[in-house]
Amino acid sequence: MSTLEIRGLKVSVTTENGDVEILKGVDLTIKSGETHAIMGPNGSGKSTLAYSIAGHPKYTITGGTVTLDGADVLEMSVDERAKAGLFLAMQYPVEVPGVSVSNFLRTAATALRGEAPKLREWVGEVKGAMEALKMDPSFASRNVNEGFSGGEKKRHEIMQLELLKPKIAILDETDSGLDVDALRVVSEGVNRAKENSNVGVLLITHYTRILKYIKPDFVHVFANGKIVEEGGPELADKLEAQGYEEYVNA
C-alpha cells in the first residue's frame, strides 16, 4: 500500500521575463489502487504538475511538499523517484537516437530491479508486453520513440508501465491522438497494471471517452494552477457537457 501526497505545491518556470508561477498550491493524495482523473483547460498546469512530480529540471519548486510513503520526493533525483516507484507516461515521449528499445528497456529494468533480469525470462516478458499492446516485435530493435507515430509512442509508454511496475503512475494525456482501437488497447494495458500490481493512477485527460474504459474513483478539475473542484465520475460528465467556463472565470 503506497501513498503519494502532494501538499501546497507551488512551481514556477524561468522565462525571459523572469519567473512565472504556474502551480499555485496543489493538494492531492493518491493511494495504491485508486484512479484519479485530472481534467482542465489547456495551459492550466496539468503537465507542469506531472513533470514536477517526476523531477524535470525545467521546473522550480517554490513551495509545498511531495512525499511517497513519507519519503521526500522533492529531494530525490529523477532516477531515484523512479526507483521509489513513480512513473510518468509523457504527453510527448522523447526520441533517443541510437538507443534501441530493447537496450533501453533492459537498462531501465536492471536499474529498477537492482539486478539484470535473466535474459531468457526477460525476452519473454518484453515479448508478452509488446504483444499485449499490439506492438510489432520489430519495435524492439528500433530506436526509442524515433519515427514512432503519436499512437505508437503512447503504446510504448504504457508498455513500459506494465514492464516496470511502478507504485504510482501519472499518465499525461496518454489518450490524446489514439484511434478508437488503440484507445481500447492502451486502456486495457492500464487496467491490467491496476489489477496485477495495484498501481495508483493519476490520469490527465481532456476527454471522457478514456474514462469509459478506465473508471476513475475521483475526478479533479484543474484550473489556473490548482485543483478547483473534486468529485466522483459524474463530475467528468458535467465537465463534458458544460466545459470549464465556470471554473476559469471563478
Partner: protein, 366 residues
C-alpha cells in the same frame, strides 16, 4: 639526391596563417611540416594475417598518383621514392576484411610512410588499418579504386596518448566505382587527417563516415575535400564528434567542390558535435563551392550541441542513473556510424573506449 633536394626547396613551410593550417598547433607536429623532423622509414604497417590470393603487399618504387599541396605529404614524397603498395587484383572479390595494424611504440623517431592501395577494376574488398601503438607518423596514403571496383576503407586511430599522426588519405575513384571510408579517431595527442576524394569517372560514388572523441588536451582535425571533377558522381559525408575536458579541440572541415563539368552531382555533408564539458572547443566548417547549377542536389549541415536535457530526463525517469543515461546517449550518438564497421569485436572495442574516455573526462557526472 639533387632532385630530392630541389623538391624539398619548393615546399612551402606552413606558418599557421594559411587556410589549411589555421587551426593546427604546428608546434605539436614534431617538425613534420617544416622539415626539421629526422624522418625514418619504419614501415610500421603490417598485415595481421596472411593475405588471401589475389591480394599482394609489396614495397615498390612508384610516383604519386596525383600531386598535392599539403606540405607534410610533399615532404614524405620527397623523402621516400618507395611505397608500400597493397594491390587487389582485377575482378577479385574478398569477402573477409583485410586487416593491417600499427601496434609498435616508438616516440623517438618520426616515421614517414607512403602507402598505396590499388583496387583494380571490378575488384571488391574491405581494408582496415588499426592504429593502436604510440608513434609519430606522417602518412601519405593514396587509394585508387578502379572502374566498377568497390573499396571500404576503415582507419582506426586508437593511438596511445603521445602519438602524433598527420595523414592524407586521397582516393581517386574511377568510373562506376564505389569508395566508402570510416574514420575513427579516439586516441593520440594530435591527429590531423585529410580524407580527400577525386572523382575520376562518371557513375562513381563515395561515402565518408567518421567519428571522433577528444578529451583533455587532445587535438583531432579531420579536413575533408571532395572534388567533383566529373559528371554523375555522388558523395555523402557524415562525421560525428564528441568532446570533453579542458582544451579538447576538434576541427572538422568539409570542403566540397562541384566543378563546371560535374553535372548531375549529388552531394550532402553533415557534421554533428556533442560538447560534453566546458573548456572544450569544436570547430566545424562545411563549405560548398558550386560551378554548375545542373546538379541533383547539394547540401550541408553542421550542428554543435550539449547533452539534450529532455533525452536525459526521459531515460532517468525510467530509473536509469545520470551516468548511465549519459553513456547511453553518447553511445547512441555514435552508433549510427560505428555500427557501419560491421565487425562486432571492433565495434565493441570502440564503444568501450568511448565509455572509458567519457569516464576519464568526468563528463558523465554532470
Amino acid at each position: 639526391m639533387t632532385s630530392l633536394q630541389s623538391n624539398v626547396l619548393e615546399i612551402h613551410t606552413p606558418q599557421g596563417r594559411e587556410e589549411a593550417w589555421r587551426f593546427t598547433p604546428l608546434k605539436r607536429l614534431a617538425g613534420m611540416h617544416d622539415g626539421s623532423a629526422v624522418a625514418s622509414l619504419l614501415n610500421s604497417l603490417k598485415p595481421v594475417q596472411a593475405l588471401p590470393s589475389g591480394v599482394s603487399f609489396d614495397t615498390v618504387e612508384a610516383d604519386a598518383f596525383s600531386p598535392t599541396d599539403d606540405a607534410i605529404t610533399q615532404r614524405i614524397r620527397a623523402f621516400s621514392k618507395t611505397v608500400q603498395r597493397l594491390t587487389i587484383s582485377k575482378d577479385t572479390e574478398i569477402a573477409q576484411p583485410i586487416h593491417f595494424s600499427r601496434s609498435m611504440r616508438d616516440l623517438d623517431s618520426v616515421e614517414f610512410a607512403r602507402i598505396q592501395i590499388v583496387v583494380e577494376p571490378h575488384a571488391k574488398a574491405t581494408v582496415i588499418f588499426e592504429n593502436s601503438g604510440d608513434l609519430r607518423i606522417g602518412e601519405d596514403l593514396e587509394i585508387q579504386v578502379g572502374a566498377g571496383a568497390h573499396l571500404t576503407f576503415i582507419s582506426l586511430q586508437e593511438w596511445g596518448a603521445s602519438s602524433i599522426h598527420a595523414a592524407r588519405h586521397n582516393a581517386v575513384v574511377e568510373r562506376d566505382a564505389t569508395f566508402n571510408s570510416i574514420i575513427v579517431t579516439v586516441g593520440g595527442s594530435l591527429v590531423r587527417l585529410l580524407p580527400t576524394v577525386e572523382f575520376a569517372g562518371p557513375g562513381s560514388s563515395a561515402e565518408l563516415l567518421g567519428v571522433y572523441f577528444a578529451t583533455a588536451g587532445q587535438f583531432f582535425e579531420h579536413r575533408i575535400f571532395v572534388d567533383h571533377l566529373v559528371p554523375q558522381a555522388k558523395s555523402r559525408v557524415n562525421y560525428k564528434g564528441a568532446l570533453a575536458g579542458q582544451d579538447a579541440h576538434t576541427v572538422w572541415i568539409g570542403d566540397v567542390f562541384i566543378r563546371a563539368a560535374a553535372e548531375g552531382t549529388d552531394t550532402y555533408e553533415l557534421n554533428r558535435n556533442l560538447l560534453l564539458s566546458d573548456g572544450a572547443r569544436a570547430d566545424s566548417v562545411p563549405n560548398l563551392e558550386i560551378e554548375t547549377g545542373e546538379i541533383v542536389g547539394a547540401g550541408h549541415a553542421s550542428t554543435t550541441g550539449r547533452f539534450d536535457d529532455e533525452q536525459l530526463f526521459y531515460l532517468m525517469s525510467r530509473g536509469i542513473n545520470s551516468a548511465d543515461a549519459r553513456r547511453l546517449v553518447v553511445r547512441g550518438f555514435f552508433t549510427e556510424i560505428v555500427s557501419q564497421i560491421k565487425d562486432q569485436v571492433i565495434e565493441d572495442r570502440i564503444m568501450a573506449r568511448i565509455d572509458d574516455e567519457l569516464a576519464k573526462a568526468g563528463a558523465i557526472n554532470g
